[in-house]
Subunit: 313 residues, 2 copies
């Protein structure tokens, strides 16, 4: 019984996913997670968004950083530096366990979906966490300095190069995991929620997969997106820098236009209420920042109530 499928990238999306997990019965939330940021580093298969969602839903996420484990240590990293290894991407000692186990199991022929489900179970996560695809999709950032792998753009270059566009290598041939196919066709499905993640970096890789786009167009449950912008700014990350570089208006109206044709409803922050008239679909205005558990649960509840108002079911 899947009531809600949430599409998520990393930290912003994971917060709403956590709110949804709190208010839904165990097993009735599926979080479909972007894997366009996945990459190989130090020989390890890293899935940053999956890990952020797992850690957040398990209550293990680092509250100071937007990634990694709470209370992690950095002994491995110090030694990698001593050995002259690459140190631009920081892996904590606890965090490493996920990467090493995932790499081992992928190399043994297991699928990312099964490995992720297993990790979620060991972490005691109540929602289901499912990679958007078991097939390789890689977000490439087309910049004034050439085309960069996502993590090199995002972490190593700190989003400094000017973005001209994106490519999602592999997306055209990627398949929808069976688990998600089932969830999206589940008659008990009440809403698809596009979490307040970066549309270009975290949600586009999902939407670029043809089977995903078709599924979202065909699904009977309403598709609701939550804008990541508050007062024309992102809570975290480079969204507005990217929007400026793409010459888009810095408001939720641009985000809504990005999702046009996919979404039935849109949720924006009160600070963005003035752009509501520009938005083509039904819009719910509320407070979207999620600083406390109460914020997360309230927003999750409002999103689901808003979805119910479409009366599609």
């Amino acid at each position: 019984m899947t009531q809600v499928v949430a599409l998520s990238g990393g930290i912003g999306g994971a917060k709403l996913a956590l709110g949804l997990q709190h208010i839904l019965p165990p097993g009735e939330l599926t979080v479909a997670v972007n894997t366009g940021d996945d990459f190989e580093h130090l020989g390890l298969s890293i899935s940053p968004d999956i890990d952020t969602v797992l850690y957040t839903l398990a209550g293990l996420a680092n509250p100071e950083l937007s990634w990694g484990r709470a209370g992690d240590s950095w002994n491995f990293m110090a030694e990698i530096e001593r050995l002259g290894g690459e140190n631009w991407y920081r892996l904590g000692d606890k965090d490493l366990a996920l990467h090493i186990e995932r790499t081992r199991r992928l190399n043994a022929g297991e699928k990312l979906t099964g490995i992720t489900a297993d990790f979620a179970r060991h972490f005691g996560v109540l929602g289901r966490v499912v990679p958007m695809s078991n097939d390789l999709v890689r977000t490439m950032v087309i910049t004034d300095e050439g085309t960069l792998d996502f993590q090199h753009y995002f972490v190593e270059r700190r989003c400094e190069p000017v973005v001209k566009g994106f490519a999602y290598a592999g997306a055209a041939d990627a398949r929808l995991p069976a688990q998600l196919q089932e969830d999206l066709q589940d008659p008990s499905l009440q809403a698809i929620v596009i979490c307040p993640s970066n549309p270009w970096l975290s949600i586009a890789p999902i939407l670029e997969i043809p089977a995903w786009r078709e599924a979202l167009l065909e699904v009977t449950a309403p598709v609701i997106a939550v804008s990541p912008l508050v007062n024309g700014q992102a809570v975290k990350g480079p969204i507005t820098k990217i929007m400026s570089e793409l010459q888009l208006e810095l408001s939720s109206a641009s985000i809504a236009r990005f999702y046009e044709g996919i979404i039935d409803g849109f949720v924006i922050d009160k600070s963005e209420a003035h752009v509501a008239p520009e938005i083509a679909v039904a819009t719910h205005v509320t407070g979207t920042p999620m600083k406390t558990p109460v914020d997360k649960q309230r927003l999750a509840r409002e999103v689901l109530e808003f979805a119910r108002s479409f009366g599609k079911l």
Copy 2:
């Protein structure tokens, strides 16, 4: 200019190697290290003896355990356990850096010799540390419970199965690294020292490589072995248990017999002086336990003086 080539396994051998490193000019000691214990674990390429030698020569070894790094932390290990991963072989957070870098570089096609030399350089090790071979050799333990991989016998089963014999898979086809070939032919070579490691577990894998055996038979410098037994017991490890199971006399005489044909001289502890008459080669009797840096350097100095007494050069 190589003055001394030392053959070593893990902790016992590493102690004498450290003594030799202290008394020899930088770059004049080469430690050839057993790789028969190497294995894949959690998808990582682990070289336990190389690491013990590197850590010992760098002054980074754990003084309480016979393996691993001083002051290591165990956060990775706790998380691997939480994820249901294998936990019988303990990898510290600092220690992991070596395994991950080695695995990455081996997978990229680099040789173990080059990787090891690089690690030694980054650790500031003054001696050269060279794997006995770049080719795969795997020590297998033939026991009453069947043939076991070395680490499964040694760590997972804590040497409990009764040993019937050993096999050194791959040894017959393994080659001598070019660096060692050069060292063994270096006219300035004054001694080959077989460190007080376990003959069957740590030295036999080296001697089973035909090119090694030939090189040791041909070398003009004297080959001196140091017995690992003190008062009929090993300082560390399962030597005497194995010797009993192989129905060998528990004394250095059995060790000397094992090395017969290879060695020119043998060094035994004072507590074993009574078996000197049974030993076919020239024997030097001294105190062999190496508890302090002074012990290590004194024993190293005595071994080299003993070698000089052969006057082969």
